[in-house]
């Protein structure tokens, strides 16, 4: 049988395939050849065949039949075989299949091999994909190697130990003795991996954390040496000595200093030194500064240091590099609650980031902006945020609109400003506004009694312009239904009152009913509004009686009946809604409505009460706030009113 083709030959051949089908054919042919070669237990070419299989696996083709062959390669004495065998094991073997356990013995032998590069292969494989069982079996070997003086092996053993601890946390204890002298090492590889190991142990065990706190002075010393030492070509990156090690030490210091005053104080000076002396012209310096800031903010640092950290973030925001701006915004978002005033100083820079091209930066800037809004800056901030709302991508609009409503509710300087802001949101991003905003807005509007005329006028004008944005249309319909009389009588004080007749208003509402743009819910709102206007306007209106939507149909039939049989009750039933008070700011709210003449009693959430009252009084209790949701149950309130009367 001719020798199997070489790896590079196969790669070259496969790349000449012009179609997926052609490639598949070549692969299948080669796989068949490899399979028979495996069956023949060919030792010479096993390595070559497995390598080819790994290539085909990367292209997406199945290669599981090579798993056992990888194990045979690992068991071979030749280094080349072992190299490919271990690579294959890492790529093909799955810890969920028992076959991977067959590796354990080979790895054990190789961990004790006379050649350090073989030991290295074993440590690497165990450290990358060792299963819990393998880790349990081999932890002792790893621990032995952690104590060796050979730095090449020691550094690998440290990372292997990290993996063992991640897989089997109970084994952490056995590595404790070996950690004794790790930080005394001169070799940067060992130092780096040791710091990683110590970090892993401290993160997982409060006892270990307490035990290793005493290392803080040593860590500070190592970090200081790195900063103060002269140029070291072996570890230099853009003029900075071993930035990778610096970052890891800073991270370990963060964990050790967290919630401990003494440790935090011990690292205060070095943190200030790193924060002020690190070169910021390249990414690598900024990476160190970033880690320093994270550490300062997380430990019990003094306020001067914290301000220094926030200022670094502020400078990051002005950096041309968008990656730097991105991490700055992320970090500021984390600290805005605890260090609010310091972050406020950078407000204008943050607001500028709203105009950034990167979507993630914009989102963070938006979140941060909302977090920074307060009573003092509300007017200025809202201007920027409304401008952002106008021009931002659709994916932001819902969140931004909600944020604007929340901020306006908390900090509105005046009722007029509040209404104007709501109007602006409804008209610019009306279709993105969340469903629950509509009842909240209605409640807000009823509360601003002196603004009713102004509000209804503005909403009416908005409707004339655009009836496509459903939340806007719904709120407008409701307002016109309630305050339509104010609209036609031209009572607006805040701005020039418009001239509009009752017929014109009714035409607009009827237009909403027939428009294709209106959803069934919107039609419900406008139908009810027309009904209400029947008592406020002098002209009687015909009811839109037939509709595919069952809710609307029922509504229309009941309203019709109201006109025909119970016309004498109509004015009382459709009286102006009293101001609704929220009894709780979140969650279901009991809304008690009376006409003022009877005592409000404790509402019963479960059953709409049957009230026996004389005809000229209307007392009703409502269900909880869910009554006002968009699915049409808003009308249940009116239903309750109507049903009570029909049941008497």
């Amino acid at each position: 049988m001719p020798a199997p083709i070489r790896l590079r030959e196969l790669i070259r051949t496969i790349r000449t395939a012009r179609t997926q089908a052609e490639e598949r054919e070549m692969i299948q042919k080669e796989c068949a050849a490899i399979r028979s070669s495996f069956r023949e237990e060919d030792n010479t070419y096993r390595c070559r065949n497995v390598a080819k299989l790994l290539y085909m696996h990367m292209l997406g083709y199945p290669a599981h039949f090579g798993q056992l062959e990888c194990l045979k390669l690992i068991a071979s004495q030749k280094f080349t075989d072992k190299r490919i065998g271990y690579l294959g094991a890492m790529l093909l073997l799955d810890e969920r299949q028992d076959v991977h356990l067959l590796m354990t013995n080979c790895i054990k032998n190789d961990l004790n091999h006379s050649t350090q590069y073989v030991q290295g292969l074993a440590l690497c494989t165990l450290g990358c994909m060792g299963s819990s069982e393998m880790c349990r079996d081999l932890a002792g070997e790893v621990e032995k190697l952690l104590k060796t003086s050979n730095s090449y092996l020691r550094k690998k053993a440290a990372l292997c130990a990290v993996h063992v601890i991640r897989k089997v946390p109970e084994l952490m204890e056995m590595f404790l003795p070996a950690t004794k002298n790790l930080l005394s090492e001169k070799n940067h590889g060992v130092l780096h991996t040791s710091v990683v190991l110590l970090t892993e142990m401290c993160e997982r065990s409060p006892d270990m954390l307490l035990h290793f706190r005493k290392l803080v002075p040593q860590l500070v010393r190592i970090l200081k040496n790195l900063i103060m030492s002269g140029y070291s070509p072996e570890h230099d990156v853009s003029g900075i000595s071993d930035p990778f090690l610096q970052v890891r030490i800073l991270r370990l210091l963060r964990i050790l200093g967290r919630s401990d005053d003494d440790s935090s104080e011990a690292m205060n000076d070095i943190l200030a030194q790193v924060a002020t002396n690190t070169e910021t012209s390249k990414n690598v310096g900024n990476a160190i500064l970033y880690e320093t800031v994270l550490t300062i903010m997380d430990i019990k640092s003094e306020s001067g240091l914290r301000v220094l950290a926030i200022n670094i973030l502020g400078r990051f925001l002005l950096n041309n590099d968008k990656n730097i701006r991105y991490v700055a915004l992320t970090s500021l978002l984390k600290t805005v609650q605890t260090d609010h005033n310091a972050v406020q100083r950078h407000r204008s820079t943050i607001v500028d980031c709203l105009k950034d091209l990167d979507v993630s930066i914009k989102r963070r800037a938006m979140e941060l902006s909302f977090a920074l809004v307060n009573g003092n800056n509300i007017r200025g901030m809202m201007k920027e945020l409304l401008y952002f709302l106008d021009s931002c991508d659709p994916e932001f609009k819902a969140d931004c609109a909600s944020g604007v409503f929340l901020a306006a509710e908390k900090y509105a300087p005046s009722k007029r400003w509040h209404i104007d802001t709501i109007m602006r949101v409804l008209t610019t991003a009306g279709s993105y506004v969340r469903d629950d905003s509509v009842p909240n807005l209605i409640q807000l509007i009823t509360n601003s009694v002196e603004m009713h005329a102004y509000t209804v006028q503005r909403l009416y004008k908005a409707l004339l312009d655009d009836i496509s944005q459903q939340p806007l249309v719904q709120v407008s319909s409701w307002c016109i239904g309630e305050y339509g009389d104010l609209l036609v009588s031209g009572q607006c004080e805040e701005e020039e009152p418009i001239q509009v007749t009752e017929d014109e208003v009714l035409d607009v509402l009827e237009g909403l009913l027939v428009s294709n743009l209106s959803t069934p819910v919107t039609r419900g709102y406008s139908l009810t509004a027309i009904m209400k206007l029947s008592t406020r306007f002098s002209s009687v209106v015909s009811i839109y009686g037939s509709s595919i939507d069952v809710e609307l149909q029922q509504r229309a039939v009941e309203y019709n009946a109201l006109f025909k049989k119970y016309d004498h009750m109509r004015p009382a039933l459709l009286e102006r809604m009293p101001i609704m008070e929220k009894t709780a700011s979140n969650g279901p709210t009991e809304i008690v409505q009376t006409n003022g003449e009877t005592e409000p009693s404790v509402p019963d959430t479960k059953h709409p009460p049957l009230v026996t009252q004389p005809a000229n009084q209307v007392t009703a209790r409502s269900h909880d706030i869910s009554v006002f949701t968009i699915d049409g149950s808003f009308f249940v309130t009116d239903d309750v009113l109507l049903n009570q009367w029909f049941n008497i």
Binding site: L59, R251, I361
Partner: protein, 158 residues
């Protein structure tokens, strides 16, 4: 820790995949496909970082290859960019002005270099020189394997 690293071309061809957590083959394929789509859709003006599932993705494009790492919430994205850069430098030094074809035809060597640089997603050695030296020595061992020694040589008599 780094959860995985992917290298892929602009056409969406995978050139290297290193996973540091046990993941089912089927899930790996799905994640690779999804992530490649997300990264390849990014515009040049965007940052090198994005959120994907519960991970942070750090990616950088070198010529025709995307180097893409997934790290966890507490990891430093800026230093991850440096890790990627260090790996590229190692490849560059080893292959001499590395290009995508080098990685295609010598993928196993690219893996060997990566495995000498990272274990379990963490850096083993921060010295470029040290990592390259180890690879060089290992390659020598491999060559010794391949060149047959005479019986006399084996006995140390020639």
């Amino acid at each position: 820790m780094m959860r995985f690293m992917l290298l892929f071309s602009r056409q969406g061809k995978l050139r290297l995949q290193k996973w540091y957590t046990a993941t089912a083959e089927r899930d790996k394929k799905k994640m690779v496909r999804e992530l490649m789509q997300v990264v390849l859709a990014r515009k040049p003006k965007m940052s090198s970082f994005l959120e994907w599932r519960d991970l942070k993705i750090v990616y950088k494009r070198y010529a025709s290859l995307y180097f893409c790492c997934a790290v966890e919430e507490q990891d430093n994205e800026l230093i991850t960019l440096e890790v990627i850069h260090r790996f590229v430098e190692l490849l560059d030094k080893y292959f001499g002005s590395v290009c995508e074809l080098d990685i295609i035809f010598n993928f196993e060597k690219a893996y060997f270099i990566l495995d000498e640089f990272l274990i379990g997603g963490e850096i083993q050695d921060t010295s470029k020189k040290s990592v390259l030296k180890a690879i060089e020595q290992a390659d020598l061992l491999q060559e010794e394997d391949e060149s047959p020694r005479s019986v006399l040589e084996e006995m140390g008599l020639a």
